[in-house]
Amino acid sequence: MLRFPYRKVRFPVTHDPGPHEALAAVRDSRAALGARIRPVLVEEIALAVATGGVLAAFALPPPWGSLAMAPFAVAMSWLMVLARNRTGLMVNRAVCARARGIGLAFGLAIAGLVLVVILSSLLLDLRWPALACGLLAAVITFFGRRAWLRAIMDDLAGRPR
């Protein structure tokens, strides 16, 4: 007889479920999903460093800045793919107002930093703002992404904010 080790029944709904049972199964499924997207510290740190590196690379004079930026940009993409393959989930859609707000604030903050870096390095020929913005972007990415994931996990688990 074949045995499958992962076939532990978590939601033992095998008959026609009543409305209460069905709604409980929906809640339980979402809660299990929330546990699945738990952030991994090493990945979060690496992503923050890669994001900060993209901006900090502008501190180098051309063409070295563009050359230094490329590996950080590749690392960012690779880390996103790694996280997607690890969890088996794509959760770009912000599922709740809190996650949407965090995502919007994060996007605006990074866009603002990119603008400062472009203006300072290309127009004013200042190099140090790129380093400062890179550091700031790394910190914002680390805490922003964790807060965004936490908001989604709380929403899926039905926890109050």
Partner: protein, 101 residues
């Protein structure tokens, strides 16, 4: 505001859980959903085939790192049907007491 509507395709155990998971993500991998709802590959495939025939899910196969992965997502009509079904369940739950045990 969706009109509450019972959907027999979605209501079946397994398919309800699949829709509950897919309704909160852009895409989910076959193996992830299978593990989350704790069913075998064949049962999962059967549920997905029925949901796909109803037009509620779309499957995408992608070869990544030498491995074939199947990604599943709810279609817009799947979202609507699931939302309407949950609303109907909520309405029915308000009318009926929970089963004992």
């Amino acid at each position: 505001m969706k009109v509450p509507q019972f959907d027999a395709v979605i209501h079946a155990p397994g398919r309800l859980q699949i829709c509950a998971i897919l309704s909160r993500v852009d895409e989910a991998e076959f193996a992830t959903v299978r593990d989350l709802i704790a069913v075998s590959d064949s049962v999962m495939s059967k549920h997905l085939r029925q949901l796909e025939e109803a037009g509620y899910v779309a499957l995408r196969k992608a070869a990544e790192a030498g491995r074939q992965r199947t990604w599943i997502r709810l279609t817009p009509s799947g979202y609507e049907a699931f939302a309407a079904h949950v609303q109907e369940l909520t309405r029915l739950a308000a009318l009926t007491p929970p089963r004992a045990g």
